[in-house]
Amino acid sequence: MEQPVTAVTADAAAEPEGARALAHARHIGVFRGGRWLVRHVDITVRRGEIVTVIGPNGSGKSTSAKALLGLIDVDEGAATIAKGVRVGYVPQSISIDWTLPLTVARLLTLTARHSKAEIAATLAQVGLPDMADAPVQTLSGGEFQRALLARAIIRKPDLLVLDEPVQGVDFTGQIALYKLIRDIRDRLNCGVLLISHDLHIVMAETDTVVCLNGHVCCSGTPKLVAEDPEYRRLFGPAASEALAVYRHDHDHTHAHDGSVVALQGGAHHDHDGAGDA
């Protein structure tokens, strides 16, 4: 496609990439209550890819996800979801009024019909077997979270947007749910935008990490982000620890060398590089 050489070209040149993507936020900014909640945020999710957004509380992770989904208007930049992309969304929190009688099965079929068998199978996947007829108001926090995840995946989405999907889920449950998310990505070949506080998981399972603090501090492969000084400043010791786990997970030849020590010393380190530890 030929483009005239104007100021627009930079944007237009980004188009083909954005067009192939399932969802694309280009330099978005959200201005509310007299301040920028987020600004200059770029996020692209492609098919088969897990993009994880990390950042401290209030850093604008949920805001960015909502802007990407078109749930809030952006004041700068543009957010697009490719045509025909089916979205499965797990919001950070929803409150359903106690007076609304809703079973778990009904929660799953609010916007589309699904067969009983499909509902049962999906609930079993998220660890809620035999809960189809339970009223949603009686679910525990972790159970409700699992039900929301079931809602998102029963749609067979092209794009999964998960805003802290495992909050309140017990530890073994978290591992199982992350595995489930990865399985679903593999099976449906969907794109996943994951907001998570669990740096270990992020570092181990993710294709791209976006580190947010009102703006994008750094983004790229987990390795790149983990070595970024801004990332370390933001997450402190936890960051280094997570990187250590990441190395451990990925380093098959020499796992127990002095890499952790080197990291805590603040040195940049290539986890694939042999012999420079």
Binding site: K66, L69, G70, L71, V87, Y89, P91, I94, I96, D97, T99, L100, P101, L102, T103, R106, L107, L110, T111, A112, P135, R151, R155, V161
Partner: protein, 279 residues
């Protein structure tokens, strides 16, 4: 007695009109409590008086005037919410009482027309005519048909606006339709219950039905049934004790609510005891 002759009787007409209202109010009222819009219903009802005032001033049909005014107030609410400086609660409080007060002021300024203010405020179901019944049933049928048409997206939007939106359910569109339906019902049935008490029959039967239902549709049906029972109870009480009809119907609804509350508490007590003795 033939159906025609039956409708000659003022009491039967009142019963028929009241039940018609209750059947429409039940399902609509469920959404009002699920969406926590009780105060919104009140505000729209209060603005009806302002609508009456304008209808008399412009010499147009009262139902049309009330409907248009309700829509104006609902839109004002949406705009003020958008501006986002005051909480919805406060905005509703301002609109609700301003509309009511302004309505009374304007009506009392119009010395050239004789208006029975009390009938508008408290309703006068015992004077409904056949034409009124026709309006209630025809309008009610349209309202119920539209509600059925938007049922799924409205329910999804009620559970979660954001989820409904990402799943292509157009929640803002159905919310708008729902507001129009509330305005329409209040305009049509104002004469039955009066604007001060009309929301009671939207809310109390739905709240009563909640305890006994496990699906939204079931609750909608039961609310209609409870509302109809309240109308019957209230009208008989009104006749028996010579009390005003509208408030008597609300008292009937309250009575059913209390009885069902006590019953359900007793039932759960017994259930707990049974489990105890087994354990």
């Amino acid at each position: 007695m033939t159906g025609r002759a039956m409708l000659d009787d003022f009491f039967t007409r009142a019963l028929v009109a009241g039940i018609g209202f209750a059947v429409v109010a039940g399902p609509l009222g469920c959404f009002i409590i699920w969406r926590r819009m009780a105060y919104f219903g009140d505000t729209i009802a209060h603005s009806a008086l302002l609508g009456v005032a304008f209808a008399l001033l412009l010499e147009i049909d009262v139902i049309a005037g009330v409907f248009v005014m309700s829509v104006v107030i609902a839109m004002a609410l949406l705009v003020l919410q958008r501006l986002g400086t005051l909480s919805s609660d406060t905005i509703l409080g301002i609109l609700s009482h301003s509309a009511l007060a302004l309505g009374i002021v304007i009506i009392s300024l119009m010395t050239w027309v004789r208006v029975d203010l009390k009938a508008y405020l408290l309703g006068d179901i015992l004077t409904v005519s056949r034409a009124d019944i026709a309006v209630i049933y025809a309008g009610g049928a349209v309202v119920l048909a539209l509600l059925a048409a938007i049922w799924r997206p409205l329910l999804a939007a009620t559970a979660s606006f954001d989820l409904a939106r990402t799943e292509g359910m157009h929640p803002e569109r159905v919310r708008l339709v729902f507001m129009l339906l509330i305005a329409a019902v209040i305009a049509i049935t104002m004469k039955v219950m009066g604007i001060l008490l009309i929301t009671a029959l939207l809310i109390i039967p739905a709240a009563t039905a909640r305890r006994f239902c496990s699906s939204p549709e079931q609750m909608a049906l039961w609310s209609a049934a409870v509302g109809a029972a309240a109308v019957g109870l209230g009208l008989f009480g009104s006749l028996r004790f010579d009390t005003p009809s509208g408030p008597s119907i609300v008292a009937g609804a309250m009575l059913i609510f209390i009885v069902s509350l006590v019953l359900s508490l007793a039932v759960s007590r017994v259930a707990a005891r049974t489990f105890n003795s087994r354990g």
